[in-house]
């Protein structure tokens, strides 16, 4: 490596480090404030590290969990995320397999429709969706996965199709000759082949659904069902008073599971996103 390229790399590392710190800064701020007493957050010391006088320990976390029904929100969020991700993985991988292998005008149109759904912003359809969900009784956490399946299908189908195109059809034909019916081919052959893409789709979709605020707020009955993202706003009391400590703790508790899932599965995201891009 030449001296020129070494100094270029060093400069690049410094720039990227600064950008990373900027990205991490808000999360770091939430973390340190979640460990401070209420008075220390709302005054000018919000940007300082906790001192002996301002350190609150895990009191804010206890408060966040014990009030406002955190545990039921955690349950609803987990339930919605898990059911939606399972539905997206199952239906979208089957759909992608079909439209990749059956090349007709209809399947090509369906693929384009899925790709198009990725570019339509949610805000454009949210009010019609909200009234439609009410009329179809889709406004409970138990069936919210149907709506998430629709919104998550674009990215999932796009990624699954990208991978499926790189898988030789011979393998599926061999399984058909070996004695598989289409469902057996899907579960015994296609699903194991799709596993890396499935993990990356699952992580990307889980991150989105877990953190989503707008869709559940519009669809669900806010007095009955609250996801964690919805719950956070209930730490805002009357007359503009905000319980900042518990709110910060709640934010930390909300983002913690998804960060852990991301860290465990991040290597699959790279694999899954680039799958099919190059000949393997």
């Amino acid at each position: 490596m030449t001296r020129e390229s070494q100094s270029y790399n060093r400069l690049w590392s410094i720039v990227m480090t600064i950008i990373s710190v900027l990205y991490m800064y808000p999360i770091f701020m939430v973390l340190i404030n979640s460990l401070k007493q209420e008075s220390a957050i709302s005054t000018g010391t919000a940007f300082e590290l906790p001192t002996e006088e301002t350190f609150a320990g895990l009191a804010n976390y206890e408060n966040a969990i014990s009030t406002q029904g955190f545990l039921s929100s955690l349950f609803f969020t987990t339930f919605i995320t898990v059911t939606s991700v399972i539905a997206i993985l199952l239906f979208c991988s089957m759909f992608a397999w079909y439209i990749t292998r059956v090349n007709t005008k209809v399947t090509r149109a369906l693929y384009l429709l899925c790709a198009f759904s990725m570019v339509v912003p949610f805000q454009m359809v949210m009010f019609t969706l909200s009234s439609m969900a009410d009329s179809l009784n889709l406004n409970t956490p138990w069936v919210l996965w149907i709506i998430y399946l629709g919104f998550g299908a674009g990215l999932a189908v796009f990624m699954f199709c990208g991978f499926m195109r790189s898988v030789p059809i011979d393998i599926e034909e061999a399984s058909m000759i070996d004695g598989c019916n289409p469902l057996q081919t899907y579960f015994h052959i296609v699903v194991p082949l799709l596993r890396p893409t499935m993990v990356s789709v699952a992580i990307l979709e889980a991150m989105w659904i877990w953190n989503d605020y707008l869709l559940p707020t519009l669809i669900l009955d806010i007095n009955k069902y609250r996801t964690i993202s919805m719950l956070i706003q209930f730490f805002r009391g009357s007359y503009g008073r905000v319980e900042m400590g518990p709110m910060m703790a709640c934010i930390m508790l909300a983002i913690l599971p998804i960060i852990i899932i991301y860290l465990i599965g991040q290597k699959y995201i790279i694999k899954g996103v680039v799958a099919g891009a190059v000949k393997g």
Partner: protein, 391 residues
């Protein structure tokens, strides 16, 4: 083991781009109102335990035919029988066949053992029987030590053995092989070819083998089906198609190096005898060939004369010799392949590097003149439209 019967089988791919109209040709394939005719009126009776080879250039319809037997392609017209059972609408899994693919098509997430057990598990074969059959097949193919490895940890030759193993554990009625050796290097291909010959002797099944390599076809097949543009050109034993090619395409396709062709004229004397004029020299066909020509009542006409390179003799200057110039001399070790410009065409002549008496031939310097001849018993006479006048 079973017999397979294909009756008037045709495959039409609907023209999706709308560019090809009825009567046009796409890569020499006929285009009908329905679309591109990939396989046309295919008729073949395959006997029990026979090893049949479908051979032809790329796009001739050989793989399509095999895939129709496998049930991976729908049949547009015609009937396919395995034993006495019409299988046109029977799904692949219920045809009692197994197939070896060119790309091996192993299941990458399963071990070698898993790959071989998979079809047996699907057919609910008892566990003990599965174990026995897998170990037996692995032992035949010499892959016992790789049973617990994944396919990615195997070489090309080993993977192909596993693919064959997965097919034979089923003990299928018909074993289909779609260019199974094309992905292997030359040395391994020769080795695997010998393995397939041995395997064939050990298992009782009917083989249908597809290849574009005429050497594989000649060495493996009991009978060869030569195809071109979706149409069968000739069906016969390797020796039959080599000695009596039905047309110029078969003559040129079978044999390495390929047959030399010259523009010549067939002459018929008043007494009914024939001779061939080539560049002022006359070749008298053998009595057998004369008889065949008489039987077909062949007229005097311009013909294409075919001679195999190994049937040409370099005899120095003499009567009725043909003359040419050496353009390329390829040293093959035991022989030299001479590319000679003669009679207005490039011809290939095989010259042995050492004669039977141990004499070395003269040098074949590029540009040097060369004289050669061939007898009337080794010539093949084709009409201008390619049909063998003796057939």
């Amino acid at each position: 083991m079973a017999f397979v019967s294909l009756k008037h089988v045709e495959k039409v791919y609907p023209s999706t781009d709308g560019k090809h109209r009825h009567g046009e040709k796409k890569s020499n394939l006929k285009v009908t109102k329905e679309g591109v005719l990939a396989v046309e009126d295919f008729n073949l009776e395959i006997k029990d335990r026979e090893f049949i080879v479908l051979v032809g250039p790329s796009g001739c319809g050989k793989s399509t035919t095999l895939r129709m037997v496998a049930g991976l392609e729908e049949i547009t017209r015609g009937e396919i029988y395995i034993d006495d059972r019409l299988v046109n609408d029977v799904p692949p899994k219920d045809r009692d066949i197994a197939m070896v693919f060119q790309s091996y098509a192993l299941y990458p997430h399963m071990t070698v053992r898993g790959n071989m057990e998979f079809p047996l598990k699907l057919h609910k074969v008892p566990k003990d029987e599965i174990k026995k059959r897998v170990e037996q097949a692995a032992s035949i193919l010499g892959i016992t030590e790789y049973l617990d490895r994944k396919p990615k940890a195997l070489s090309g030759g080993q993977r192909q053995r596993v693919a064959i193993g997965r097919a034979i554990v089923r003990e299928p009625k018909v074993l289909l092989m779609d260019e199974p050796l094309s992905n292997l290097d030359a040395k391994l291909r020769n080795q695997m070819r010998a393995e397939i010959i041995k395997l064939r002797q050990r298992i009782d099944t009917t083989f249908i083998y597809v290849t574009h390599d005429q050497t594989e076809a000649m060495t493996l097949g009991d009978r060869i089906v030569i195809m071109k543009d979706g149409v069968i050109q000739q069906i016969g034993t390797p020796q039959e198609v080599f000695d009596h090619p039905k047309n110029q395409f078969v003559a040129g396709f079978i044999g390495v190096p390929q047959m030399n062709f010259y523009d010549a004229r067939l002459l018929r004397a008043a007494d009914g005898s024939y001779k061939v004029e080539l560049q002022g020299t006359y070749i008298v066909p053998s009595e057998e060939k004369q008889e065949a020509l008489r039987k077909n009542d062949a007229e005097a006409q311009d013909i294409v004369l075919g001679v195999r390179p190994e049937h040409i003799a370099l005899l120095g200057d003499g009567k009725d010799m043909l003359h040419g110039t050496v353009e390329v001399a390829e040293m093959m070790g035991s022989a030299v392949h001479l590319h000679v410009n003669a009679c207005g065409r490039e011809s290939i002549i095989i010259a042995q590097t050492m004669s039977f008496e141990g004499k070395l031939p003269g040098s074949f310097a590029i540009g040097s003149p060369i004289s050669f001849t061939f007898g009337g018993n080794v010539i093949h006479m084709f009409s201008k439209d390619g049909n063998n006048l003796e057939a």
